[in-house]
Symmetry: T
Subunit: 144 residues, 12 copies
C-alpha cells in the first residue's frame, strides 16, 4: 500500500503563524504522525503541499504510476476547482478527501465540495486526526 | 469510553433485502464488527436503531447519563430533521456523523446535512468501515 | 393480489369534523368502498392509518412479507419525508401514490412530492375515487 | 358520457420507432383499448393527436359543443404551454391530465405541469393503462 | 376557557441541562407559572410535551373535544412539519404559536414557520413570559 | 395611419362562453368599437385572431408591407414566446402591447412579458378600453 | 370627474437638466398638456410632485375627500414602496399607474412594480402621452 | 416604566375608512385602550403615528432620552426599511414589534421583517389586543 | 449522406429586412452556399424553414425516412420548445445544432438551449459559416 | 473645488451614544477633520445629515447649482433607495460613495449598494478616514 | 494565417489512461491531425497544453505577437476562470472555443462557460473533429 | 511603513495594448507614481504582478516577514479565489483591496469580491488614483 498525501493552498502556514489561535501542530508534525502510523500499517507514504492548482492537478495525474491511494486536503480549491475534480475522476486510484475543520460548521461557501462527488469518501472535523482516519480508510481499501 | 451508536430509519433493512444489490452486510454484522473493535480499544458500546424521529431525539437527549460520545447515522433524517439537530446541539456529549455511502455522490437533496454543523465531524463513503473510523475518532477524542 | 392501503397524518379526521366543509365521506367509508371493489377484483385489501412517520416507514418495510402492492396516501409526509421515500425505494413491492385533492391546485409547497419519483405512478384529484383508481391500477399491475 | 381524448406532440411516434426501447404499443393500440373499455362503460369516445399547440388549444375550446370530459396527454406542451392552460381553464368541461410515464421520475423540467392546476386531476406512470384509469375517472364524474 | 399547552421536541430539556448557559427555568416552572396565571384568569389549563411529531398531531386533532384554545411551541417541528400545519388547519379551535427565543434573531432556517399561516397569531422572544402573553391572548379570544 | 390589431390564443372565446363570469363583450364587439374609433381618428384598422404562435409570428413579419403600427394582445404567448419577441424586434413597425386584465394582479407567471422589452409600450387592466387607449397611442405616434 | 395626478421622486427634474439627453418637456409642460385635455373631457385635475414617500402616501390617503381617480407616476418608489402600495389598496378611489419610459426595457430591478397589483391598470412607455392615455382611461371609468 | 408606542404608514386610516371591511376600531381607540391598561400597570405611555420613514427613525433615535421601551408597529416599513432596523439596533432601549394582523397569513413579501432580528420580540395577529400584549411584555421587562 | 437542414421562426427574414443592420445574406444565399459545399462533399441536402413549432416537430419525426443527419437552427424555439427536444431525442438520426450568432454573447434567456443536451453537438457564432461547419461535421459523422 | 458631503439616516448618532462601543468620533468631529483637510486642499466643503430619503434626494438634485462633487454616505438607504440612485444618475456632478465600516464584512443585505453602479467610485472600511480619502479623490477629479 | 491551439487542464491525459473508456486518440494524435489539415489550408499552427491557469493566461496575452487566431479548449477552467475570460477580452486576436464532448449533455456546472461570451464562437461535441472545425472556422475568418 | 503592492492576472497588459481604448497608463507608470508618493510619506514600497493564483497566495503568506500592509488588486481572482481569501485571513498584516474601475458598474459576476470580507477596506473606481488612495489609507493605519 503506497499512499500519496496532498495538501492544498495555505496549509503550509499550519502551526507556524498565530499558534495561540490555530494551535501549534505544523504540517511537518502531521506528516511525522502519519509516517509513524503508516509504518505500523506497513504502508509507504509520501507527503506534499502546493499553493498551485495546476501543480496539484499534475500530482494527481501522475499518482497511478507510484501510488495506490491519494489522500487529499485541497484546502480552498475544494470549493472552486473543477480541474482538481476532473483530475480525480480521470485517475484510476481512489482518492479520499480530508479536512482538519468541520467544513459544515463554517461559512456557507465552504459547505460545497466540488471534489467530494468523485472521491471515495470524505472525513472532516477531527483536526490532524482526520488524516490518520483517512490513512486507516486507505489501508482498509486494500484488503477489500 | 462509553459509545452510543444510533441508526435511523430504514437502516434495519441493511443486508436483509435484495442482498444481490446492497450487499449482505446486515446491521447486526456492523454491530458485531464494532463490538470487536470496541473491545480492542477498551471501549463500551451500545447499538440501537429506530425509524422514529422522536425516539432518536430521546436517545440523544439521554445520552449524557450513560455515554461519552454518540455516533449517529441518522439516515434520511440527516436531511430533514431540525429536531435531531437541536438535540445534538443541546447535549453535552460530542456527536460524530457517519454515512455508509458517499452522500455527495448521490441525489442533490442528500448533500445537505442539517446535523453536520452541530456535530464534531463527519465521515461518509466507506461502507461499514465508516462506523469503525468513527469509533476510532471517538476514542481519540478521549485522549485529547 | 394482496394490497396494503396506507394513510398518513390527519386522514383519520376525514368526514368527522366540519362535514359541511370537507364532505361527509369518512376514512371508514373509503375503506368500505375499497373492500367492495377489491372483492369484485378478487383482491385482498388491508387498510391502515397513522400520524407517525416512523410507523408508516415500518409498515412499508414489512409490506413484502404479506402484500403485492402498496397504495399510499402519505398526506403531509408526502412533501417532507425522505424516510418514506427511502422505505419505498428499498421495498420490492411497487407503491402507488394517491391524493384526494389535486395537490397541484393547492399551495406551492404541496406541489413537490418526495415520494413520487420512487413510486410506480401517481393519481391525484378524484376524491375518494382516487383510491379506487389506484386499486384498479394495482390489479392491472398483476396481469402485466 | 362523451369523452374527447387529446394527445400532444410526438405521441404519434409511440410504438412505431425503436419498439425494442419504447415497447410496441402504438397510439392506435391505445385508442382501440380505450374504445373497447368505453363501450363497456356506455361512453362515446373520440381520439385525436396533434403536434401543434394551437390545434390542441382549438380542440379544447370546441370540446363543450360535443363532449362531457376531456382526457389530455399534452406531452411536452404540459410543461411549456400557458395557452393550453388558459384553454382548459376557460372551458366548461372538466379535463383529466394523463401521462404514460411517471413524470416525477424523469428530468427536473418535466416535474412542473402548467396544466395540472386547472385540471380535475392527474394520473401518471401506468403506461397505456393511465388512459384507462382516466376514462374510469371520467365516467365516475358523470354519476357524481 | 380551557387551554391546551403543547410543547415540541427538546423542550423537556429546558433548564435541566447546562443551566449556566440556558438559565434555570424548567418546563415544570413554566407550567407552574401558567397554572397560577390561569387561575387568576379563571381558565383551566393542561400542559404536555412530546418529541414525537405524530403524537403532537394527535393531541391537536383531539383538542376540540376538551379545549377552547391551543397554545403551541412546536420547537423544531415549527420549521419542518406540514403534518402539524394540517392538523392545526383542520381543527376547529384557534391555535396560538409561541417561542421562547426571538426566532428571527437566530439561524435563517428558523425564520420560516410552517405553522404560523394557519395559527391565530404568533408571539416570540419573551422567554417564559411568551407563554403568559399567549394565555392572555387566549383568554381575550374568549370575550371577542 | 394603418393599424394591425392581433389577438392571441383563447381570445376568440371572449364573451361567448360563461358570459355571467367574463362579461358579454365579444372579440367582435371590441373590433366594432375599435373600427368606430379608428374612423374618428382617420385610421384604417385590421383585426385578426389566432391560436397559433407561428401564424402570429408570420402576421407580425409581414406587417411592414401594409401597416404603420401593430397592437398586440398575445394572450398566453405573452409569457412563453421568444419567437414573437424576435418577430417584434425584427420588424420595422412599432408594436404596442395590450391586455384586458391587469396582468400584475394575476398569477406570478403572468407578471413576466417576454414581448414587453421590445415593444413601444404596454397598456394593461382597462378591459376592452385597453385596445382603445392603444389605438390612441398608435395614432399619437404618427404625429410625433 | 376630479382627477389627482401624483408624481414621485426626481420627476421634478424632467426637462430642466440635460435637455439634450432627456428632451425638453418639463413636468409643467405635462401638467399644461393634461389640463387642456382635462377641459375637453370636462374633468377637473390637480397635479403634484414630491420626493418624499411619506408625503405621497398622505396625498393618496386623502384623495377620496376630493377626487374620483388617482393617476400615479411613483418613479423610483414604484419598485421599493410597500407603503404606497398599502395606501393605494386602502383608498376607495381607483389608481392608474403611469410611466414615461417602458420600464420593461430598462434595468431588471425596474421590471417589478409593487404598486401595480393594487392599481386599476398600468400604462408605460409612451412618454408624456402616457399621462394623456391615463386621463382618458380615468374618464372612461366614470361612464362604466 | 415609560413606553413609546410608534405607528407607521397608513395606520392613521384604521377604522376611519371602509369600517364594514376593516372594523371600526380607530388608532385613537387603540391609544385609549392602551392608556387605560398603562394606568393599571402604573406605566406612562406616549402614542404617535407617521407616514414618514425618516420621522420614525428620528423618534426611535431620541427614545432613550424619555422612554424605557419602544413598541413599534412599523406597518409597511417593517418589510423595506433598513434605516429603521439600524435605528433600533443603535438605540439602548428594547423595542417590541407588533402587528394587528398575522403577517405570516398574508402576502409572501410581508413574511420578512427587517426589524425583527434586532427587536426584543414580536407579537402578531391579535388585532388591537396585540398592542396590549406588547405593553404587558414591556412592563414585564421592567421587573426582569 | 443525405442531410436535412431545418430553420426555425424568423429566419425567413434574414437579409431581406434592414440589410444595413443584419447584413445582406439571405436564407436563400445560405442554402445556395450549402448546396455548393454539399456537392463537393458528395452529399445531398434539403433546406426548409418554418415559423411553426409543430411543423418543425413533424419534419424531425419524419427525417429518418429520408435523411442521415439533421442540421437544426431552431431560432427562438431553441430556448422554449420541449417538443422539439423530445422529437430530436426520439429520432434515430443525429441532430447538429447551429446558430448564426454567438448565443452566449446575447441576452441571458438565450444562453439555455433545451435542444442541446439531446443533439450530437453545437456550433454557434460563425454567421452563415456555422452552417458550413455543421455540414462538414455531418459528413464526418458518416465516415466515423 | 466645492464639495458637498451628505450623510444619511442614523449617522447623526455617531459617537454620541454608547461611545464605549462605537468609539467617540462624532459626525461633528468628522466634519471638522474634513474642513481642515479641505482647507489644505483649497477646497470648499459643506456637510449635511438627514434621516429623510426625500431630503437627501433633494440635496443631490440641487447639488449642481453650487458644488463640483458630492461625497455620499447614504447609510441604510445605500441598500434600499432607488430614488437616491436615480437622483445621482440624473445629476451632472460626480458622486463618491463612502462607508465607515467595511460593508462587505457585515450582513449579507449590506453587500449590495443600489447607488454604487451610478457613482464614480466607492471607498469603504477606513472609519472616519474613508471621508478623507473621498475628499482626496474628489480633489483629484478636479485636476483630471 | 497563424493559429495558436491551447489546451487546458487534464487534456494531457487524453487517450493515455483507460483507453477502453475514453478512446485511444491522444492529444498528440489531435495535434498531428490538425497539422495535416493546417498544411492543406496553408496555415501555420502551434499546439500547447498546460494545467496552470496562469500559464494559459500568459499564452493568450502574448498571442498577438505571433498569431492571428486562438483556438482554446480550456477544459475545466472554461467554467471557473474569470482570468482567462479577461485575457481573451483584452487580446486583439479572435478566440474560438472548442470542446471534445457536448458540454450541454453533461453535469449542470459544465453548461456555463465564462469564456464563451467573449469568444468569436463555440464548437462542442464532435470529439477530435471539433478542433478541425475550429481550424476551418479560423481560416474562414481570414478571408472575411 | 513598508507596503507590498500586489497585482493579479492581466494587469501586466495595462496601457500596453489598445491604448486608444484603455488609456496609456502602464503598470510601470502606476508603480512610479506610487513610489513618488511613498517617498513623500516616508514609506517603502514593493510592487509585483503575477498571473498565477498560487504565486499571489505565496506572496501574501510571506508578507509579514517584510511588510506592514498589503495593497491588493487581485484582478479576476477577486471574484473566484477562496485561496487568496484564506491567505489574507491567515496573514497578520492588514490588506487593502483596490480596483481601477468601479466593479459595481460592470458585469454582475464582478460585483462579488471573495476577498473583501477579510480585507481592511476596499477602494474602487478611481483609476490609477485608487492605488494612491490605498497608499494614503495604508500610511494612516500606521498612525492609528
Amino acid at each position: 500500500m503506497k499512499v500519496l498525501v496532498l495538501n492544498g493552498p495555505n496549509l503550509n502556514l499550519l502551526g507556524q503563524r498565530e499558534p495561540e489561535v490555530y494551535g501549534k501542530t505544523t504540517l511537518a508534525d502531521i506528516e511525522s504522525m502519519l509516517q509513524t502510523r503508516a509504518k505500523s500499517l506497513s504502508a509507504k507514504l509520501e507527503f506534499r503541499q502546493s499553493n498551485h492548482e495546476g501543480e496539484l492537478v499534475g500530482w494527481i495525474q501522475s499518482a497511478p504510476d507510484q501510488f495506490n491511494v491519494v489522500i487529499l486536503n485541497a484546502g480552498a480549491y475544494t470549493h472552486t476547482s473543477v480541474a482538481l475534480r476532473d483530475a480525480i475522476a480521470a485517475t484510476s486510484v481512489p482518492t479520499i478527501e480530508v479536512h482538519l475543520s468541520n467544513i459544515y460548521a463554517r461559512e456557507e461557501f465552504r459547505h460545497k465540495s466540488l471534489c467530494a462527488p468523485v472521491c471515495k469518501g470524505q472525513i472532516s472535523g477531527f483536526g490532524a486526526f482526520s488524516y490518520v482516519l483517512a490513512l486507516e480508510a486507505a489501508c482498509n481499501l486494500k484488503v477489500t
